[in-house]
Amino acid sequence: MSIPAPVIPVLVFPGSNDDRDAQRALELLGAESPRVWHTDERLPAATAAVVLPGGFSYGDYLRCGAIARFSPVMQAVSAFAADGGLVLGICNGFQILTEAGLLPGALRPNDSLSFVCRDVAVRVETSESAFTSRCDHGRELTIPVKHGDGCWFADDALLEELDANGQIALRYADGANPNGSVGDVAGVLNRDGNVFGLMPHPEHAVDALLGSTDGALILGSLVDAARLSAAVPV
């Protein structure tokens, strides 16, 4: 019996620019990844997970992600997430998810005020998530970042709560924080663990020709989880 590829659409907002990379990476890892335009009010049939790609939706006007969250497709994503659907936001996608209230915290301009574009080392803080199951706990991954607004913020009480709940899935390795994020946070889960956002770009680290392939561990985990959720209709 052949197992059908899980359907993991990649959303496209005006100004998204990593949607094709995300699509290609997911398909390389065994998913079927149609790109979905932001005005669509529904996700494709059999959607098993959704990816919000990087880019500069709506020119980053007002605040990064602030305008994209009102796109028609985001209403569908919110409903999907509320039903336990898997949602991954990369970079601008992470910013959109925090603005939409689907993930805790907020993303502010980098403390250096400079755009950073380079490989960074990140540490996997939990392998017990749909997005990190292929990683060993404590393992360091090399994944590129490229952003001007990646300084994640939460106040002390919120950070403590997220830490206690195991929601901080990814941290920049010691001394590698590229943007001033509090607690060196690079990626954070929602309370139920079905929504994840991160600033590094796993979709740019899936092919040895371009350097690290550690991004495939993150996206591959998502494909695994999507395959499971597709096999067991809710």
């Binding site: 602030a66 907020a106 502010r108 403390d111 005020l113 300084c151 001033g180």
Partner: protein, 80 residues
């Protein structure tokens, strides 16, 4: 009616832009203790009713113009 919404980073929020401006002002010889940089939004509203305008502007701020986690706002209503 015209209105101006002033959006500020909340106290305690890292404001690298404010710090850069602060450094530059000091460099120019100004005795500056702190500088914070926010955003200004001018809005032209259809209504001329001040109470109605204020209520509407507050809704705009909560829904879109600010992120309440990191920003505060003040509303200045223009003369009618």
């Amino acid at each position: 009616m015209r209105a101006t919404v002033l959006v500020r980073p909340k106290p305690g929020i890292l404001d690298p832009e404010g710090q850069a401006v602060e450094g530059s002002l000091r460099h120019l010889g100004f005795d500056v203790a702190e500088t914070r940089v926010g955003r200004l939004v001018d809005v032209e509203l259809a209504t001329e009713d001040r109470a109605e305008a204020l209520a509407e502007l507050e809704r705009m701020c909560e829904q879109l113009l600010t992120n309440p986690l990191i920003e505060s706002y003040t509303i200045e209503l223009g003369p009618t």
